[in-house]
Amino acid sequence: MTRSTRFLASLAALAFIVASCGGGSSSSDTTAPADDAEVEVQELTFQPIAAGKLTVCSDAPYEPFEFQDPTTKEWTGFDMDLMRAVATRYGLTLEVTVQPFDGIWLAPQAGTCDVVASSMTITDERAANAGFTDGYFDSYQSLLVRNEDAETLNSIESLTGKTVAVQTGTTGEAYAKANAPKAKIQSFDDAAAMFLALESKQVDAILQDFPINAFRATKQGTTTVSISFDDETEQYGFAVAKTNETLLSALNDSLAEFNSNGTYDAIFAKYFGAK
């Protein structure tokens, strides 16, 4: 090889290595906030890991809580809209890092992001290693099945001997293991694989939070939510590092304000209709 080709080849190799060093994908929000104009910017009481940005970890896409608008590629969804409102309230822009849900509540501690917004249920186990805000959404588990099974797979008992898909590390997985021990439980890394597994008949049902299943059922048409387990409700919370008291109080203050000034209701109505 000539000198110049060798140089170019090593440049290319270096570029490859550098490009492949990215862990998850991240994108920032460069558009102006679309919600109510008169937002008074609060004093920045906490220290974000990246100056001027509120870095959020999320296991996306997870409609309707966190996903990208197909045309504008802007981060949207119930969680993302709330996070953007918080960011705007402190004069920051929103930056989103995507990573698998498994262990995502440990990410703020590891310094990957400031806060985790990923439809995360508050549990004692997680609260032992992360700081949770007050609950911001009530949810419960439900079963998503193929249309033809809607009448037959509509109770926990009907799952005996059937294969149920759950996402690793979620309360859905815990619920399935606790209440449906006779079912064959398959754990998946990400939600997309579960939907594929249901469609390819690898599994008979998906046990997952009701809003996700419901959204998927309306969007896809080949699946139905056969039953919701609304006797056991759970609350979603945003997670921060356990030691990050300042960010925690900032988030709780923001949530309290949104609850009183109608911001929360507006965002809720956008995705779930009027309460």
Partner: protein
């Protein structure tokens, strides 16, 4: 007085040794070993990983590896011979297969064969082990085919000519003369492929794991989440090493034996 070449080399060596010793001493003194141990190697967590990491996770990893390697070997041999065939259609088919399965990442192959094909053809995998091992075997087959082909081509042409001139047909010459000699050349890269396969089984969990089909990596990752500590992953890595080190040593041994035998 100028230093002779030999003296220069000696001084360089001493200074490298001294520098390395200094680095080691610095590491020993300045690293917070307690904190490191607490974050990455807590004995109580290590003990909790056994015996399930061996009786369940390692067992499954081995099953996937053996199935993948057996299938890969069979396919590899088949496609290597096709690649060397006089019939152009065989050569072309084998070349395409090899390029496709070498060029696509294993994750993508797993997803396409695990979900894409069943959805497209309204068909289900009969068995979760097959679902993970068949894509693995297909990809391993592509790499092994190239290894075997290179091995066969490395056998001196004189061997085939001598065999043919003794009246042996092409198949008989291949099986009794060429392939046995090719094996000696092929075994080190093949053991390499086996080691890579053991590690590739860690990707199968994207297709969904049950408690019965869990592999070592998935076991380690679950452990990290339940204990909020990195120790299970370190243990998982050590279990992988325990499986691959004997293999690499065996490969080195076979290589030495082969070298001695061919003298």
């Amino acid at each position: 007085m100028a230093l002779s070449k030999r003296q220069k080399a000696q001084y360089l060596r001493y200074s490298v040794y001294t520098f390395s010793c200094l680095v080691l001493v610095a590491l020993a003194l300045f690293v917070d070993w307690n904190r490191l141990a607490g974050a990455m190697f807590r004995w109580d967590i290590v003990v909790k990983q056994f015996p399930d990491i061996l009786t369940k996770a390692a067992k499954n990893t081995l099953i996937f590896t053996v199935m993948g390697f057996a299938g890969g070997l069979a396919l590899g041999l088949l496609f290597a011979l096709m690649r060397l065939s006089k019939i152009r259609a065989y050569r072309w088919f084998a070349a395409t297969y090899i390029e496709v399965f070498r060029g696509i990442p294993l994750v993508v192959t797993l997803l396409i064969l695990g979900f894409g094909i069943p959805i497209a053809f309204q068909w289900s995998w009969p068995n979760p082990y097959l679902r993970g091992a068949v894509p693995l075997a297909l990809v391993a087959g592509a790499y092994i085919a190239e290894t075997i082909r290179a091995g066969i081509e490395a056998v001196p042409k004189g061997q085939m000519e001598a065999a043919r001139s003794l009246g042996m047909g092409y198949p008989r010459a291949m099986v009794t003369i060429i392939i046995p000699q090719a094996l000696r050349i092929i075994i080190p890269p093949l053991t390499n492929e086996l080691v890579l396969l053991i590690k590739d089984t860690s990707l199968i969990s994207i297709l969904g794991v049950t408690s019965g089909t869990i592999d070592i990596t998935r076991f380690g990752r679950d452990g990290v989440n339940t204990t909020a500590n990195a120790t299970p992953l370190i243990v998982a890595g050590l279990v992988y090493l325990a499986m691959t080190l004997p293999l690499t040593q065996l490969a080195a041994l076979m290589e030495r034996r082969a070298k001695a035998a061919s003298r």
